[in-house]
């Protein structure tokens, strides 16, 4: 950790806070993945880690390397953009897949298709 010795204390404290916040939120999301009872409840848990969990760690990384190299190091923004674009795609697709499978098995507590004629067309959604 010798490379971090010339980091100012305020930056070290801020980086620590952001990293711990991000890691803590990610851990809470993972706990939710195990603790929650139904699949649709668990669908909400990973987005904790993917939004502010990842956001905290990415902000900390940007701050850390920018202060350390005294120039803006912004390439973590790419991961942030990538995560905000991809997480909804994954979770939406998983939610729809679960709904599709539950409906085809006539599971309880599953809402009927929005379309009145009862036909499920997966190609409709964006």
């Amino acid at each position: 950790m010798n490379h971090a010795a010339d980091l100012p204390v305020w930056a070290a404290l801020l980086v620590s806070f952001l990293v711990l916040l991000g890691a803590g939120l990610t851990l809470v999301g993972a706990i939710g993945l195990v603790r929650l009872k139904t699949f649709y409840d668990r669908l909400h848990a990973p987005s904790l880690g993917a939004t502010w969990g990842a956001g905290g760690i990415l902000l900390a990384s940007i701050l850390f390397f920018s202060v350390l190299q005294s120039r803006p190091v912004l390439h973590e923004v790419l991961i942030a953009v990538f995560l905000t674009v991809t997480t909804p795609v994954t979770l939406m697709l998983l939610g729809r897949a679960a709904l599709y499978r539950d409906r085809s098995e006539n599971a309880a507590d599953v809402p009927p298709p929005i379309r009145a004629d009862g036909e499920i067309r997966s190609g409709d959604t964006i």
Binding site: T38, Y40, S47, G95, I126
Partner: protein, 161 residues
């Protein structure tokens, strides 16, 4: 102009991505611009639906609202996961009728709703233009419909025609 740059926003984003990955220098600006223009021309063959941004100045407002909402929802869901005994949580599905039809605006709405841990986009029907979401802590259905319609959809309708 439009022959060379069919999707200017895509070309600029690709250039920005190239510079973020490789560092800022004149050579990389030239190379990144060439790649951005070429790649956006290649995507033109796919003919993605085109949507126009009408009001640029509302975008920062939307971003700020979403960041704050995502943060609030993060805290609320984290609290519910860690201390489940506080109150009886009921989760459920809500059907939201939409006015938005623009695919880009719908994609942004999907990102917003899924990134907010309290709600998840499950299904959308384009003929009925209705949306099915799953809400983690469902207290009042009307509150959620009102939230989506007045907080996000109205802004998106103003930004994207």
């Amino acid at each position: 102009m439009s022959r060379l740059l069919p999707y200017p926003l895509l070309a600029v984003s690709l250039l920005a991505m190239w510079l973020l990955l490789n560092g800022l220098s004149l050579g990389h600006i030239v190379l990144g611009s060439v790649i951005g223009v070429a790649a956006s021309n290649v995507t033109a063959a796919l003919q993605p639906p085109r949507s126009r941004i009408r009001r640029w100045h509302l975008i920062p407002k939307l971003v700020a609202i979403v960041l704050v909402d995502v943060w609030r929802s993060n805290v609320a869901v984290a609290r519910l996961i860690l201390f489940p005994g506080q109150h009886r949580r009921v989760s459920g599905f809500v059907i939201v009728p939409l006015e938005l039809r623009d695919p880009a605006a719908l994609a942004i709405l999907a990102c917003i709703l899924t990134c907010t841990p309290g709600s998840a986009w499950v299904e959308y029907d384009s003929t009925a233009n209705k949306l099915l979401i799953h809400v983690f802590d469902l207290v009042d259905e009307a509150h959620w419909i009102d939230l989506i319609k007045n907080r996000y959809e109205r802004l998106l309708l103003e930004i994207l025609a």
